[in-house]
């Protein structure tokens, strides 16, 4: 009994979040959706509690080497890695809720379920980033997906929204099917659904570790792993599983797009990092497995190169800023993959740092998009012409985000890229680093089209109504983007603590 109570304590943030989502749902029903803003405030307050609990948990974990001693209920692994992503997820959920409040094209009443769905997606993320058990991982992922489908189609009477949602469901279902089939094969081969057991177990009796599998016949196990990776690749929109991304991002309401592009994608990466880490890099891994890990690394490196190149080249010819940001997020997925492809702990922590940077700059960029959707009633880059002089603060902050997205100093994006490039070179992926650098040049082209439209055109005739709250909020994100680009230590320490807690080690030569 005590054991269960202790386990419940470990998943307190998840419990509070679940409870919160239920309260939000009931509150909305009871008040009959009269004023959905109340629901939003309630959600924000609840997220504050969750964040407080997570910070406490982080403190405990950091003191004890990053990993809780017990695996709650044998399924939930509470470690600094997961908590890192949970903290950022809570942050971005709060930001997205603020975006919904600030969205001028959104109704103010009867949208309580918006918040419920967001929180539900959050619960999915929480569980998927903190488990080594494929069942719980799948459930978390599906919870996130199901909530995301509904969110993408939230404006179901709008053709674009409904269409985006339909495409999302269909491609999402396909990837779920592929991933589950892969998991079933992996289970069939190893007899376990726990990643740690697969990575560590030796060959005698069930469960059979990967080492024995690879030694016996590498093809089935490789097929299973590639199928599972394909499922994750879909979530983080890596080529060739990126088809849905531009359409869904464009059609979904902008706050939802923000959530998908930031929180959902980062969660996908968290799972990817944990999966690859647990199978191929875990301490004491068999040398046969490590050798296959290097092949997987090479595969990922190639996918990274293709993804960033395709994302950037497609972004070049977009006229809609929303669609451009969608392609840019594909390109960024390619950059993050570099850290994974390095197949070293330092590479993983570089990827985590970059994801943290990505939270800041992409939340900012999408916030800017939302701001000007409200002002211009349009997503076109051309509609921004000369608006820089009418809404100077937001626009200057946007320049900071753009500089960061391009990866120039003095921003957090630069530092993230520096780390990724450095770890890439360290892992002997010089060619990939070169491709990434060239891609940054390409990305400069389209990112600075926005800056050009804002400032290098004659001032626009229209006026932008001031939105002091929204402006101040974006400015805060902008300050973070620059501050963490100069004072990088905290983020770097956090991502290193997170990686350490995965228990992965440098592959022995």
């Amino acid at each position: 009994m005590d054991r269960y109570l202790a386990d419940l304590g470990l998943i307190a943030p998840e419990l509070v979040l679940t409870l919160l989502s239920l309260v939000v749902l009931v509150w909305d029903l009871v008040t009959k959706g009269r004023d959905s803003r109340q629901v939003a405030y309630l959600s924000l307050a609840g997220l504050g509690v969750v964040a407080y609990l997570l910070l406490g948990q982080w403190g405990d974990l950091a003191a004890t080497g990053g990993k809780a001693e017990t695996v709650a209920f044998g399924m939930v692994t509470i470690d600094a890695f997961g908590t890192f992503f949970k903290l950022f997820t809570v942050g971005s959920l709060a930001v997205v809720i603020l975006f919904v409040l600030a969205d001028r094209r959104e109704r103010k009443h009867g949208i309580g379920e918006y918040y419920f769905l967001l929180l539900g997606a959050g619960i999915g993320v929480f569980f998927m980033v903190s488990t080594n058990n494929l069942l719980l991982l799948m459930l978390g992922l599906e919870l996130l997906s199901l909530a995301s489908y509904s969110l993408a189609g939230f404006h179901k009477s709008e053709r674009r929204s409904a269409e985006a949602s339909m495409k999302y469901v269909i491609f999402g279902g396909l990837s779920a099917g592929i991933m589950l089939y892969g998991i079933s094969l992996l289970y069939g081969l190893t007899g376990t659904i726990d990643l740690n057991e697969m990575g560590i177990a030796d060959g005698s009796g069930w469960p059979v570790g990967l080492a024995a599998q690879f030694a016996q016949d590498p093809v089935p196990v490789a097929v299973a792993i590639v199928l599972i990776l394909a499922g994750f690749a879909y979530k983080v929109s890596v080529v060739p599983f990126h088809f849905w991304t531009p359409d869904v991002y464009e059609g979904a309401p902008t706050p939802v797009t923000t959530f998908l592009a930031v929180a959902s994608k980062a969660a996908g990466f968290a799972v990817l990092l944990r999966f690859v880490g647990a199978l191929f890099l875990v301490e004491g891994v068999d040398s046969t497995v490590a050798a296959y890990g290097e092949r997987i690394g090479l595969l990922i490196a190639i996918l990274a190169a293709v993804t960033m190149t395709l994302g950037n080249l497609s972004a070049l010819r977009q006229t809609s800023m929303k669609r451009m940001l969608a392609y840019s997020s594909i390109a960024h997925a390619g950059y993050v993959l570099m850290g994974l492809a390095a197949m070293t702990p330092a590479g993983f922590s570089a990827a985590m740092f970059y994801l943290a940077a990505y939270y800041f700059m992409n939340l900012g960029a999408f916030g800017f998009l939302l701001y000007f959707e409200g002002v211009n009633k349009s997503e076109d880059i051309d509609a921004l012409k000369g608006m820089g002089w009418k809404a100077p603060v937001v626009s200057i902050v946007m320049v900071a985000f753009l500089v960061s997205l391009t990866g120039l100093p003095p921003t957090v994006g630069f530092y993230g890229k520096l780390l990724l490039f450095y770890e890439g070179v360290d892992a002997g992926l010089g060619w990939l680093v070169l491709i990434a650098a060239l891609n940054s040049v390409v990305s400069l082209f389209y990112y600075f089209r926005i800056a050009k439209a804002l400032f290098l055109s004659e001032p626009a005739e229209r006026e932008a109504e001031p939105q002091p709250f929204f402006t101040g909020f974006l400015a805060l994100l902008g300050v973070g983007t620059i501050l963490f680009g100069i004072y990088t230590e905290p983020l770097q320490n956090w991502s290193e603590t997170g990686t350490d807690s995965l228990g992965i080690a440098e592959a022995s030569e």
Binding site: P409, V425, L434
Partner: protein, 506 residues
């Protein structure tokens, strides 16, 4: 002291942000005040700097972050000044008040934004010259870039968009290649401290050295710009507002030549020795090609821009002669070019403000209506064509002398460039300043006012000073250049030995 020097402009920029944009007088005073203080500090730094030592002086260091990985490499906020950077830093500090003061005349709109960008850029430029940590250097290198995008793009001339995009893409493409080089070098050498890197880089395998040298040299060659990459410069110079052109010519281009000197030659002497003929060739051809381009121009600003290409050709030529005299000459020539070309851009800006045209055939005979202007213009031209007694002579003479020791052929091409330079600059002066007044508008032009004269005088004084007493300036270089030359000699000896071994092996 250096920390203050580098970041004071940034503080000034933040102060400017706090001033309401309607209060232009206060804005201008804040910006000018900041830059004057920085200039004063620069002068003091210059005066106190001990030229005989090759060590970095006034070193300021603070921990910044650590690159994780195989060996944790600390990256520091490491600032310091040595013989290679002292003149550049001082030049930057001294030119900035002039640039900011000059903007009174032509920046009438969005004054606040302009001044903020200018000050941010000053921080970036000073940082580039004073950084002693490779990553920090790259950091400042990029920081100095973005402001110019806006300065040219917002306050520039008619074709500013084209010019901005071209300039931005050229230089950023180069600098991202450099970023790969930076990371690779830091990784290979296991440190980011420039002094330690300089010592360790020569221990790397020679192919690696060659590739790294290539990556750095490419970025710097684009920035200088060396010959195949020169097209962005003509457009950027022509479209930039006067103050932007002055900064561009006076300081930003020097970042390229400075980089070549410190990172190209200083870190990879072996590769530099191997590649020197190519760079000397590019430099010399650049001299002649720039001069020929300049002859064909009717737009006087574009003419000066082309002459910039030509003058920077000298700098590169002298630098890659890899002789003591040549190296010194090229460093002093960087300063000279900043002063005299900067002055020319200032003056052209002044007549443009009056006539709103820069076509040479629209002028003629303005010596009669604007005698003071004519004096300064002729002075600047004479300084540019290296009249003995002025600064240009010292630089070009040393460069040609140094080059002659290394390669008489390229030196003679350089001499040809001197003659061509005299031809196009003097003929442009004749058409612009002297002769009868053809256009009635030129008869009533107001001569320079006190502010404009005030802008020119310090530059003129410096030009004469360098021309008459170059040793004050050259003396500051001794320690560093001697050390550099020593490393180059070692590299030559090593190369010769390697060759001898190869011959013996056969």
């Amino acid at each position: 002291m250096l920390t203050l020097l580098v970041f004071l402009p940034l503080v000034g920029a933040l102060l400017c942000l706090l001033v309401p944009s309607s209060n232009r007088a206060l804005l201008r005073m804040v910006a000018l005040g900041t830059s004057v203080v920085v200039a004063a500090m620069g002068v003091v730094l210059f005066a106190r700097f001990d030229g005989a030592s090759a060590e970095a002086q006034y070193v300021a260091s603070a921990a910044w972050f650590t690159l994780p990985g195989a060996g944790a490499i600390p990256i520091r906020m490491l600032l310091g000044v040595d013989g290679l950077s002292i003149l550049m830093a001082a030049l930057t500090a001294v030119l900035m008040p002039i640039v900011i003061l000059s903007s009174w005349g032509h920046i009438g709109e969005r004054v606040k934004e302009f001044l903020v960008w200018m000050l941010v850029m000053e921080t970036g430029m000073l940082g580039v010259f004073l950084a002693l940590d490779l990553v920090l250097f790259y950091f400042f290198w990029e920081v100095s870039l973005v402001p110019l995008y806006f300065i040219v793009g917002i306050w520039g001339g008619e074709k500013r968009l084209y010019a901005t995009v071209k300039f931005f893409l050229y230089t950023l493409a180069g600098s991202l290649v450099m970023l790969v080089g930076v990371i690779w070098l830091v990784y290979a050498a296991g440190t980011a401290d420039i002094a330690a890197l300089t010592a360790r880089a020569s221990a790397l395998p020679s192919e690696t050295q060659g590739l790294l040298f290539g990556a750095f040299a490419l970025a710097f060659a684009i920035k200088v710009p060396l010959l195949p990459f020169h097209t962005w410069l003509a457009d950027a110079h022509t479209e930039a507002p006067t103050s932007g052109s002055v900064v561009l010519a006076g300081v930003l281009l020097k970042m390229g030549t400075y980089g070549l000197l410190r990172f190209g030659i200083g870190m990879f002497p072996t590769a530099a020795v191997a590649w020197a003929p190519l760079f000397m060739g590019l430099g010399a051809v650049g001299i002649v090609y720039g001069a020929l381009l300049a002859m064909a121009q009717n737009d006087v600003k574009r003419l000066i821009a082309c002459s910039s290409v030509s003058h920077l050709g000298y700098v590169v030529l002298g630098m890659f002669a890899l002789t003591q005299v040549g190296l010194r000459g090229s460093v002093i020539q960087m300063v000279n070019h900043g002063l005299s070309t900067g002055l020319l851009f200032l003056l052209i800006g002044m007549i443009y403000e009056r006539r709103h045209t820069r076509a040479i055939d629209q002028f003629g005979g303005i010596a009669q209506s604007m005698p003071v202007f004519a004096f300064f213009f002729v002075f600047a031209v004479l300084s540019s064509v290296a009249l003995p007694g002025l600064n240009g002579f010292v630089g070009e003479y040393m460069i040609l002398l140094g080059t002659f020791q290394a390669s008489p052929f390229w030196a003679s091409i350089g001499v040809l460039g001197v003659i061509l330079g005299a031809v196009y600059l003097l003929s442009a002066t004749r058409r612009l300043i002297f002769g009868p007044i053809v256009h009635a508008a030129n008869a009533k032009l107001a001569d320079l006012n006190a502010r404009e004269i005030g802008l020119c005088v310090p530059v003129v004084v410096l030009c004469v000073w360098i021309g008459v007493a170059p040793n004050l300036f050259l003396g500051k270089l001794d320690g560093s250049i001697d050390a550099l030359a020593e490393r180059l000699d070692d590299a030559r000896v090593a190369a010769a030995e390697a060759q001898a071994d190869e011959v013996a092996a056969r």
